[in-house]
């Protein structure tokens, strides 16, 4: 009460004083306008020591995984579409990469790949700068810090490898800039390769050795050396390529798997199987006994961060769309779930036929060893499909379009979209976790190989070929062919086409074929020969397409320096 009276008296005497008092009372402290982020990290405080640097490395893995498993252009194009291996089955005339002239332009497809690659590079650059800024004291050892730097540099090199292979001279960015940079210039390929070599050499020296990495899926010395060997190959440094690939083959305990292994033993969906089949079964990629795997992209069902891999969706035939049996019943009833037929087989999943292999992949490369090459066995390439409707007289019979009355079916849809051989390496028979009724909507939760020892042998074979040592090249190729029970190749037969055939046989859907062909300068030539898209033969590829167009937005936004376009765009 006394206080109130005091205020009252005060106000009666001089209210201005109250005002003054209030001003003081409400005045804020000096730091009232300081701004402190509450729910996000900034590059300034995100790299304080090994633990959060580790999170940044995880961020790079996450960035790169998108390129391998995403169900869109990037993965399909890198592995198959627009190369000699496949065309867009669901829509051969107008689908992705069915017409180079109108689709691979400065405003379509190219910008997506360019942006993705530079995103990896920028995220790696910021991390490298962040690690270099840390106090030495926060690290247990110099080796620990270097291992972290090495993984970041591996990914930076990985990003530049795509760029230099597809676009030639590209802007070389190694710093983490904190302003809007608009004066990029294209650096000569040699400079880009030099950085990649430097980064990979550092990575190969400082990453953990295989088997001592922190977790499955992490990058090891073996992965770095493998990628380095490819980079040497790209520059014609064949002996260095031989040395680097030999390092991978000889020094880390990798071996091609030659005996059956893994989780599905004794439980083969198709009644038979082999080691090649086992290599691609769910949960087999990460097994310690799998010493063929060098870098495995990690996918897992149900777990946060688990992601999915649109493997079936991309590469398999849309058999469930084919309509009726010749006697007018639904051709595929599919699994019977909760009182109704789903229309989908839980063996085949729900593919949508984006990537339809060319005849080259489906037939030509297998002809010499059709029956003995295990990679061509029915359980590895499913070539026969069967009507599935007990109400039909054709139930259980093999699907054959000659059974239908002539003129009642659309050949293109039948052979490009509904039924074509299905590579079981990308399928997960009976492992469709997420939705039994829908067979996963075409996505799987299987790990996938980014680098497998078989490819290292093929890189070394290519390097030996470059050194005109066909003997050694044939020996490396035969490592793979022997495992596949295929007839060995003779040194006289070895040429670049043979190596590319072997790559297709061994690595289809794994290899980034677009990079291989662009690296060799053979994209245009081989697409013209082998891309037998029935509605767009040769995908209308143009002479200049071996080098991709620089994205128009890179040119337009780069206002403080000129970026020249590649020829012909």
């Amino acid at each position: 009460m006394k206080y109130i009276n005091g205020i009252y008296n005060l106000s009666k005497r001089c209210l201005v004083r109250v005002f003054t008092l209030l001003l003081i009372f409400t005045s804020c402290s000096e730091n009232f306008l300081d701004e402190t982020p509450l729910d996000f990290l900034t590059p300034e405080n995100a790299y304080s020591g090994p633990a959060d640097v580790e999170q940044a490395i995880v961020g790079l893995h996450s960035t790169v995984r998108v390129l391998y498993a995403r169900n869109n252009n990037h993965t399909c194009i890198m592995t198959a579409l627009g190369t000699d291996l496949a065309y867009f089955g669901e829509n051969p005339a107008g689908g992705t990469m069915s017409d180079y002239a109108s689709q691979l332009t400065a405003t379509s497809i190219s910008p997506e790949v360019w942006r993705d690659a530079y995103q990896i590079i920028q995220r790696a650059n910021v991390l490298i700068v962040g690690i270099n800024k840390t106090e030495d004291a926060v690290w247990e050892s110099e080796a620990q810090k270097n291992a972290a730097l090495a993984e970041a540099k591996f990914f930076r090199a990985f990003g530049y490898r795509t760029l230099v292979t597809l676009y030639g001279n590209v802007p070389l960015v190694t710093e983490a800039f904190n302003y809007i940079k608009t004066d990029f210039v294209r650096a000569p390929k040699a400079e880009v390769y030099a950085l990649i070599e430097e980064d990979l050499a550092f990575a190969a020296a400082n990453l953990p050795e295989p088997g001592s990495e922190a977790a499955p899926g992490r990058i090891t010395q073996g992965a770095a050396a493998h990628l380095l060997s490819e980079i040497y190959l790209a520059q014609g440094k064949f002996q260095s390529a031989v040395d680097a690939s030999s390092d991978v083959i000889n020094n880390y305990g990798y071996t091609l798997m030659k005996t059956r292994f893994g989780t599905k033993l004794g439980n083969d969906v198709f009644g038979t199987g082999d080691v090649y089949y086992d290599l691609f079964r769910m949960n087999n990629h990460n097994l310690t006994e799998n010493i063929e795997a060098i870098w495995v992209i990690q996918v897992e069902p149900v777990v946060i961060g688990g992601y999915d891999y649109a493997s079936e969706r991309m590469y398999g035939p849309a058999y469930y769309r084919m309509g009726n049996t010749p006697d007018g019943k639904k051709a595929f009833l599919g699994e019977y779930v909760s009182g109704k037929y789903t229309g989908y087989s839980d063996t085949l999943g729900r593919p949508v036929a984006w990537v339809r292999p060319t005849s080259y992949v489906l037939y030509k490369i297998w002809q010499s060893d059709w029956n003995n090459d295990i990679r061509n066995a029915e359980h590895n390439i499913k070539r026969n499909f069967y009507f599935d409707n007990p109400a039909s007289a054709y139930h259980g019979q093999k699907v054959d379009f000659s059974l239908y009355e002539a003129g009642t079916r659309n050949d293109i849809n039948d052979t490009c979209q509904y039924i074509f051989p299905y590579f079981m390496k990308i399928a997960t028979p009976l492992d469709h976790y997420t939705d039994p009724a829908r067979s996963g909507g075409g996505t799987t939760h299987k790990d996938l190989y980014a680098i497998r020892l078989a490819e290292t042998y093929l890189i070394r074979a290519e390097a030996y070929l470059g050194l005109n040592n066909t003997e050694a090249a044939a020996a490396d190729i035969n490592e793979i062919r022997n495992r596949a029970q295929a007839t060995p190749v003779t040194p006289a037969e070895v040429d670049i086409d043979y190596i590319l055939d072997e790559r297709a046989r061994e690595l289809y859907t794994e290899e980034w074929r677009m990079l291989t062909l662009c690296r060799l300068g053979l994209l245009v030539e081989r697409v013209r020969i082998y891309n037998d898209n029935p509605l767009s033969p040769g995908a209308n590829i143009q002479d200049n397409n071996n080098l991709w167009p620089i994205p128009q937005d890179q040119i337009d936004l780069n206002i403080d320096a000129e970026i020249t376009q590649n020829p012909g765009y």
């Binding site: 009232f32 650059n125 946060i304 128009q552 936004l557």
Partner: protein, 1122 residues
């Protein structure tokens, strides 16, 4: 609201004053008592204490000091009261009677104190005058004065024309006056109302209704941290009286502003409960927010504008020019909208109730023409046919010989084959077609109920209201439900202290996930609506791109927003220094949002893992503390001074948490039992932002003619870079009331003419907090089966980020002619914005998307005109018209320093408007003759759009063949308003238009115009706005069904439209009838909105041109008060 001036009788009149003085009625003085004095009580004269210490001062000076120290008005006649007499006076803490007794001791001057009114007069006259107040004359006229709603008007001045004899109405609006002869004319005047003159004749009862003065020169206008009369404004301010806006289906107050005021631009609305976009004048920024600042009851309002019940709003004042808005400094560059809620008016409590009910559908232009089932089937035949055509074209045939023949599309079996799924084929052959647009839209009801009570007593003023609104959107499941409550109180605790509370509570319910109209547009008309179990299939016809358009009706969705807004204030009249006031106000806002959704496994979003539940909770809190010191004083009757000082601080915080879960074995509990989901994840967010502001404003007016206002504001905002927290915003403005000048005061046709000139700086901080920081994003990975949290930098920050500043000049003219039959406002402005805040797209090689920066300069200029006329005005017919026109031009004047900088990637060009479209120019469609004649561009074919080959090299290339195609900004806007009242019926209508031309108001309409494509043609329904090109139908404005051009491009169309936006018909019941049933007023109305639109834009409504239709409504309702 006190008027501090000495009123002298000799200035009032007139040659025959002396003669008249004998019969002067004391009541004449009461003419000058305004409504505020009507409620005044005598206690003031007893409690007010004054202290005077003056020597050798004239009586006039002493009286002036008394007025300065107090709220008294002193009235006297110079010729009867000698005020030049010099006196010494020394009184301390005395009441007025004591002082007056002392002052006029030993003179024959007596005084009469009535409330705050003091009348000085020779003793005999005063006695006689008081005695004569009720002295009968030959004719006694009585009557009642009411406003248009039938409410009694107390305090109306009534004077006998040509005399100074008069009276005022009492609290119930009644008056009584004696006149000498039937020729007498009574003049009724009241602030804010049109003056009326009535000849007495042989009437003894005269009841009049006073109409509101639309011109409203004496209207009080909110100017930010204070008020002013409209007459005295020097800035460009538009006032909106919300009374007229309650006859339309305005759920949100932004809708009520649409098109009615030049320079105030309001976007269209397509969803229930949606707030329209609001902007004032042109765009001053490239990327920062364009939204004006909202001020609610004196407090900067950061909340959702939908929270405000439109019926609670007394009026809205919009500060358009720099000088007016400058009091809000850093946030004022986009203009300021000041909303004032209602207060009590009359001692008798007034209840008001109103309601309306109506129906809404799509505006007439909305119905996008998607293909019907037959066209849908045939298009695929053409899709394949045109592919074979292109193979043939690419062989360069010299003529049409050998051209593939178009399949017979009338063969239904053949067309059926082109459909991709068996079910579509079967439905096609059986004719089971679905019109998906019909399925997803509805005739949507809207209803609103509003109840309030208000009143004012000696010390307390109150307004209490509640409202309920329920609106369904035209898309199924689009629902909006709102309840608002408001309580405004103001209490005079003492004569020097007033405290008040304005509070509002609202609950907005947007529950229900509207159906996806985009899905309906692309859905196959031949798909099955239901699967064999009677459920919606996950995808239509097994096509994963075609989600079921109605699936959202199966989703359980709750979205509710609760809001509390409180303002507590105290106003202190500081003693001793008359005219000095201090106000402190504190406001607190709180809003909470929850959004819970459960997608069952039967819809696409929930199919992946046995249902998906999402739960989001968010809350925001904020407080404001304003200290306002103001001073107002008139010196020597000619010099009026106002000053305002402000110190203001603000703080806002927010936090949110969201969680999601999937993998439910039991769907009944949904989002309420997240823990039953097998996979759960959560995330959270938090933020804080603070501001400090200082403001000073001074205004000076000389002789009601010349006005000067200057303001200065300094603002600090936490969201800017460390080196740029503070900025200063000065402004100055001048006004000249030319009609007060002698050389114009005799111009009978001119009522009022004022010229305004202003210049000032305004800021824009509309980029939000933390924009100067680079930000890391998290992204999870998994090693083996172990989750790993990953981070990477996603957003690049800018430490130097600072304020965007707009310097603008405004010249305005306000005029009223011909006895207020014609009035208008013209404003011309010119604004330069520097350090423009830009979200600049970075080259992709940087690895970042876009970065906030301060670059460049922008120039805006424009003209705004509004005219209103009273075309007919008789006792039974009144016809008012209004015309509005505004034009604005913006231009980028600087980007990165160069005179001809062109940032193609961002589509910014020095010397061009901000929203330029840079693209290829479509010139028609290539035809077969072009092919046969060999004039086709490289890799183009018949049926392709013909792009302009600017450098004429026969090849279309990005470097040489793109140019500025047009601008998104409008060319000009206009509106026409008419209101016709015949007896009890009022019809009003409003036509609104935004026009393009000269390349303005253009936008890409590719998706509406191009029917085909590649993948899209294959799997989706297509637009049928224009028939697609075929060899046998070689149109020149649409490409073929298969369309995969070598250079991707846009197709631009002009969005110009003229819209019959509002029509309303009101019926007012006669007062006597209404009064008999105990009501003060009763009005019925019917109104329509967006009834018809004329436009050449193809596809959706030109105003909301993306994939959402705009609404048309018709409502009926009534209002009553009692």
């Amino acid at each position: 609201m006190k008027k501090n001036y000495l009123l002298k009788a000799d200035e009032l009149n007139l040659g025959f004053l002396i003669k008249l003085f004998r019969i002067m009625k004391i009541s004449v003085f009461l003419l000058f008592i305004c409504i505020f004095q009507v409620f005044a009580d005598d206690s003031y004269s007893q409690t007010a204490r004054l202290t005077l210490s003056m020597s050798d001062a004239t009586v006039e000076q002493v009286l002036g000091e008394i007025e300065a120290q107090s709220e008294f008005y002193i009235l006297y006649n110079h010729q009867l009261v000698d005020v030049s007499r010099r006196v010494d006076i020394e009184v301390s803490n005395k009441n007025i009677k004591n002082i007056l007794n002392a002052l006029f001791e030993d003179t024959d001057i007596d005084h009469l104190v009535m409330g705050r009114q003091i009348i000085l007069s020779p003793k005999n006259i005063l006695d006689e005058g008081v005695a004569k107040v009720r002295q009968p004359q030959e004719i006694v006229v009585t009557g009642k004065v009411t406003d248009e709603d039938g409410n009694p008007l107390p305090g109306v001045n009534i004077i006998i024309k040509g005399t100074i004899t008069g009276t005022i109405t009492d609290l119930n609006g009644n008056f009584s006056i004696e006149v000498e002869d039937p020729d007498a004319v009574l003049v009724f005047t009241f602030i804010g109302m049109l003056t009326q003159e009535i000849k007495v004749g042989n009437q003894t009862e005269i009841n009049i209704t006073m109409a509101q003065d639309i011109i409203g020169l004496e209207e009080v206008v909110a100017i930010g941290y204070g008020t002013s009369s409209k007459r005295d404004l020097t800035g460009s301010i538009v006032s909106v009286d919300m009374e007229e806006k309650t006859s339309a289906a305005n759920v949100d107050l932004t809708q009520a502003l649409q098109g009615y005021f030049p320079g105030i631009n309001v976007g269209g609305v397509s969803r229930a409960g949606e707030s329209a976009s609001l902007s004032i004048r042109g765009q001053t920024s490239l990327s920062a927010s364009d939204e004006p600042l909202i001020v609610l009851d004196g407090i900067i309002y950061n909340g959702n504008i939908s929270n405000i019940n439109i019926n609670d709003i007394e009026k809205i004042d919009v500060l358009k020019d720099a000088s007016a808005a400058a009091v809000y400094g850093s946030r004022s560059a986009n203009g300021v909208v000041i909303i004032t809620t209602k207060r009590g008016k009359s001692e008798k409590p007034t209840f008001e109730f109103s309601m309306y009910y109506g129906l809404q559908d799509l505006t007439n232009t909305n119905r996008i023409n998607i293909m019907d089932g037959e066209q849908f089937a045939v298009r695929m035949v053409d899709y394949y046919y045109q592919q074979s055509l292109y193979s043939w074209y690419s062989s360069n045939p010299p003529d049409a010989t050998g051209r593939p023949v178009r399949p017979d599309v009338t063969d239904r079996n053949l067309a059926a084959q082109s459909l991709r799924s068996l079910e579509e084929q079967e439905n096609y052959l059986a004719g089971n077609e679905i019109d998906w647009l019909d399925e997803v839209t509805q005739l949507a009801p809207i209803q609103n109920y509003n109840l309030n009570v208000s009143g004012a007593t000696d010390r307390t003023n109150y307004f209490l209201s509640t409202s309920y609104t329920n609106q369904k959107g035209i898309m199924l499941n689009d629902e909006f439900d709102r309840i608002t409550l408001r309580a405004n109180f103001e209490n005079s605790i003492t004569d020097w202290l007033k405290i008040g509370l304005n509070s509002s509570v609202s609950r907005l319910d947007y529950s229900g996930l509207e159906v996806d109209i985009g899905n309906a547009l692309s859905a196959s008309p031949w798909a099955n609506m239901y699967d064999e179990n009677g459920n919606y299939p996950l995808d239509l016809a097994g096509e994963s791109v075609q989600r079921h358009p109605l699936r959202n009706t199966l989703v359980d969705d709750v979205e509710v927003e609760d809001n509390v807004f409180l303002v507590l204030y105290a106003k202190v009249d500081i003693p001793k220094i008359n005219g000095l006031n201090y106000e402190i106000n504190y406001s607190n806002t709180f809003n909470a949002l929850k959004h819970n959704t459960f997608y069952p496994p039967t819809v696409f979003e929930g199919k992946d893992n046995n249902g998906v539940a999402e739960k989001l909770h968010g809350e925001e809190r904020g407080w404001f503390l304003n200290n306002i010191l103001s001073y107002s004083k008139t010196f020597a009757e000619l010099h009026r001074v106002n000053a305002t000082l402000l110190y203001s601080t603000e703080s806002r915080t927010g936090e949110s948490s969201s969680s999601s879960a999937n993998g439910f074995q039991n769907y009944t509990l949904g989002y309420n039992a997240m823990h039953l989901g097998e996979n759960q994840s959560s995330s959270s967010g938090a933020w804080e932002e603070n501001s400090i502001s200082y403001m000073a404003r001074a205004s000076y007016m000389y002789n009601n003619r010349y006005m000067l206002t200057a303001t200065y504001r300094r603002d600090g905002f936490s969201g800017f870079g460390a080196n740029n927290k503070y900025a200063d915003f000065p402004s100055v403005s001048l006004g000249w009331v030319a009609s007060e000048e002698n050389f114009l005061s005799n111009a009978g046709w001119l009522d009022f003419l004022k010229l305004r000139v202003s210049y000032g700086l305004n800021g824009n901080q509309g980029i939000g907090r933390y924009s100067s920081y680079s930000k890391m994003t998290s992204s999870d990975y998994v090693f083996g089966s172990v989750t790993a949290i990953g981070i990477y930098p996603e957003i690049l920050g800018n430490n130097e980020l600072g304020w965007e500043t707009t310097a603008s000049a405004n010249i305005g003219l306000d005029f009223t002619f011909l006895d207020r039959r014609i009035s208008g406002v013209v404003d011309i402005y010119n604004a330069n914005t520097s350090n423009v805040l830009v979200q600049r797209t970075a080259p992709p090689a940087s690895g970042y998307g876009s970065v906030w920066s301060n670059i460049g300069e922008i120039h805006n200029k424009g003209i705004e005109v509004s005219f209103s006329t009273v075309n007919v005005k008789s006792s039974s017919l009144v016809w008012n018209s209004g015309l509005l026109f505004s034009i604005n031009r913006d231009e980028i004047t600087k980007l990165y320093g160069g005179e001809t900088d062109a940032d193609i990637g961002n589509e910014w060009f020095v010397g061009h408007p901000i929203n330029a479209h840079y693209n290829y120019i479509v010139e028609g469609v290539w035809q077969e003759e072009d092919l046969f004649n060999g004039v086709l561009h490289d890799r183009y074919y018949p049926g392709h759009y013909k792009l302009k080959d600017i450098n004429e090299n026969g090849d279309i290339h990005a470097d040489d063949d793109r140019d500025i195609v047009g601008y998104a900004t409008p060319n000009y806007r206009f509106g026409i308003n008419n209101s016709i009242t015949y007896k009890n019926i009022t019809l009003s209508f409003f036509i609104n238009s935004i026009q393009g031309g000269n390349g303005y108001y253009m936008d890409d309409n590719y998706s509406s115009v191009v029917a085909g494509g590649t993948d899209a043609a294959y799997r989706k329904n297509q637009t049928a706005i224009r028939p697609y090109w075929r060899p046998d139908n070689p149109v020149n404005d649409a490409p073929g069904m298969y369309y995969s051009p070598r250079r991707s491009h846009d197709v631009y169309e002009e969005r110009s439209f003229v819209r019959l936006q509002d029509v309303s018909l009101n019926y007012d019941f006669n007062k006597p009838f209404i009064n008999k049933i105990g009501l003060n007023s009763l009005q019925f109305y019917v109104s329509g909105r967006n009834l018809y639109t004329w436009t050449k834009w193809s596809g959706w409504d030109p105003e909301v041109y993306d994939n959402v239709p705009m609404m048309r409504s018709v409502i009926g309702g009534f209002r009553m008060s009692f």
